[in-house]
Symmetry: C2
Subunit: 462 residues, 2 copies
């Protein structure tokens, strides 16, 4: 049909999962004669798996190249003008342009856009503690961070590692450092690790981690990081206690990186993430899209916006944005809060609401917990698992599921994730036709054992 109108320019801010998926998908739909694509990334890598960093640090994965899904050269070969080490410093929405600084030359210049994608990701929480910026204290957000930590490990003879925070990143980094031969102490401000679980399930994680030789300290809010005469980290202080440390890894969590968006007056939610509509368009802004760790997403179970920084969502966002920007159509309907992780052989999974989430949104519920196994009880290597399930009072609607166990436990959460998305009751979950054979499952899948107990609990609660 030939070109219609002038060639448009898409500018993408942030060159990781969401941004580059959007760029790639837009390119698939629109050729270079119709759409110019410029992508700015302040780091030195694009399209990489940050989720893989703990396994690189732990030695399971060669890095950093193996963690790159698509190289800058591959993007450029597809006519995406990707500019690494180039940081966008200002958004001028009225002028439809962004200002970017070349981090090597220091040069700044404005680039106009017709359409803009914000995929600025998240930044690790770094509390303003004394010593937080000392050599030997590391975040693990980017491939650059991973390399810096590995450099520190190689250069430091001491074997005492302190991990601050006991969420996903904290427990995964504890495993990585344990594999590298470190004595690992995890300092947790809360009472139980994995605050994304209810405390009774977190306790199982705590016990298992102690069993692996990881020292998990509860109620340890870090107050300072102590350094030696050489300026390097020596210890971490938490109140009255001091934990000697040759290396410190921060796994306190992340928050949306939306300073540019905030300065430009774009709408942010209560967690500081950008707010979009279902097409991932920034609310109230016709030509601005946002996706990945810098946005808040609709939690389909609670009906609230939440910040859920996960690569799997970022990829989906990018796909949706690219389709819409490229003249197609796509939506991101929301999340149910599914996450899976492991620490050594312990698998940890959750989806939907915890008890406190349910209370927070005014839902009354029953909670049940069961023990089951990954395979038929008589089959070799049948591994124990604990499944906790929440169901709404009266209606019996499934509200959430948490699983802690060994091999075969984690991905079972998908059953509950799909059921949550479909709005099923626990009675419907108990009746599901799931894959059964002795090497794969007991005759009632553990998720269904929990569902049956939840059905009884809903009935009993009246």
């Amino acid at each position: 049909m030939g070109r219609v109108g002038r060639r448009q320019r898409l500018v993408v801010v942030g060159g990781d999962a969401a941004g580059m998926s959007a760029a790639s998908q837009a390119r698939r739909l629109k050729g270079v004669d119709d759409l110019e694509i410029v992508a700015f990334e302040r780091g030195g890598f694009s399209s990489y798996s940050a989720c893989g960093i703990p396994y690189w640090v732990g030695g399971d994965v060669e890095g950093p190249d193996r963690l790159v899904a698509r190289t800058p050269q591959e993007h450029r070969a597809r006519d995406i003008d990707l500019r690494l080490r180039t940081e966008v410093t200002e958004l001028d929405l009225d002028g439809r342009r962004v200002r970017a600084r070349d981090l090597d030359s220091g040069e700044e210049q404005w680039t106009g856009f017709d359409r803009l994608v914000l995929a600025t990701g998240a930044r690790p929480v770094r509390p303003p503690l004394p010593g937080i910026d000392a050599p030997g204290v590391h975040g693990v957000q980017t491939l650059g961070d991973g390399q810096a930590l590995l450099d520190t490990l190689a250069a430091t003879p001491g074997r005492r590692a302190v991990v601050v925070g006991a969420g996903y990143i904290g427990v995964e980094m504890a495993e990585a450092l344990l594999k590298r031969g470190y004595e690992v102490t995890v300092l947790n401000r809360g009472e139980q690790p994995m605050a994304t679980l209810d405390p009774d399930m977190g306790r199982l994680v705590h016990t298992a981690m102690e069993g692996m030789g990881i020292d998990v300290v509860a109620g340890a809010g870090v107050t300072a990081i102590r350094t030696g005469a050489d300026g390097r980290v020596r210890a971490v202080e938490a109140g009255d206690a001091t934990y000697p440390a040759d290396v410190v890894v921060l796994g306190i969590g992340v928050e949306p990186e939306t300073s540019l968006a905030r300065a430009a007056g774009l709408p942010l939610g209560v967690y500081g993430g950008l707010l979009t509509d279902l097409s991932m368009r920034v609310r109230g802004h016709e030509d601005v899209w946002a996706g990945g760790d810098c946005v808040e997403v609709l939690d389909l179970v609670s009906g609230r916006e939440r910040h859920v920084p996960l690569g799997t969502h970022a990829n989906k966002h990018g796909q949706v944005i690219g389709a819409n920007v490229g003249g197609g159509y796509g939506t991101f309907p929301g999340v149910v809060g599914t996450a899976v992780s492991k620490v050594c052989s312990l698998e940890i999974a959750r989806t939907g609401l915890r008890e406190r989430d349910a209370r927070e949104v005014g839902l009354r519920y029953v909670a049940v917990t069961v023990e089951s196994t990954s395979r038929a009880g008589y089959y070799p290597d049948a591994a124990p698992m604990t499944v906790k399930m929440l169901a709404e009072l009266r209606t019996g609607r499934l509200l959430g599921t948490q699983i802690v166990g060994r091999e075969g436990a984690g991905k079972r959460v998908d059953i509950a994730a799909v059921a949550l998305t479909a709005g099923m009751t626990v009675e419907q979950v108990a009746a599901l036709d799931l894959g059964y054979a002795p090497p794969f499952s007991p005759v009632w899948d553990p998720v269904q054992v929990a569902a049956r107990k939840a059905v009884a609990a809903v009935r009993e609660a009246g």
Copy 2:
């Protein structure tokens, strides 16, 4: 509240999963003062896992006791009058009584009932071939069958095994015999093993089995079993070909064991299984229930009744029957046709409709196939898998999913099974919030990789 009316009697015919689950659940709801429960089982075991027999024969599981979920003594301790080796030979529905024969004494007697549960199971298909009943030819339906096969293996010095049939039982028995050190030949009447898959997916199973050293012969319809001078099996003939055999295992499939029901005039479906309503009550018969391998079940995807003999359904049927007989309430909504199996390290799973099922019920569809991995591609032991997906033309409704791969492939079918039950489109499947972390999944779960391709195929087909 005290007793109301006279004590009623529940008679259960068949003492395996469905029958004894029904009895147990009824007993939980009704005490012995209100309900007498008599269960007849013609074999010597009750409440056992027939699905475990291949793993017992293969040496993975100690048997037969480990395969018994609840012993006769345990049932009797809960006031269930379980009579082993007692075969029901006639149903007198008008007279509300059954006639049963003690297989040891030969004595017959009538037992009256107020409520009747038929859980007579399935019987292996045994074509009327010359030599089919020769020593050394074994079915593997009951624990007794398993023991008889093991006795034959122990007594027979030869190491050549022929398995007739390449469905679940056939491939599982091929693995078991391979593990016992046999040279295994599988004779398959069809072109590809696992006819519950489409032939293109069956071909993957064929190739993998050949790679394991199992000889899989296509188009081999057995015509005779040859015996030696001692009357024992020596070879299997299929047309012009002869396959030497020291032992033969029949894995041709099963059919509902409904001869009693047929003689009593109860309603049977096209597969010969009993027809029930959603409460598992036999259609048109107020006080007669049926469940397990002797019934047909509603396939929720095609809207047709099918015969799906699986322990997981039998247990659910028993639970529902027991609830209803015991004065509670339960229903069995139907199945989507989920099954999972393995042969050595190869995992095989399916749910929903195959191409021919879709055609048979008048559905037009697109079919796509993708290759993916069980974990992030860079993570150790990421195992390949092939996922095939069917979606309805125009609507994009998910119709079926088949998976063949290595560790981590099989139970992924549950994602599709739940989505099928919920009537999701492939677009909805692609947007699902599933558990992601590098040790558990690529950033797009393999099922979602297939769903994305199916979305594109539906759109392209217009």
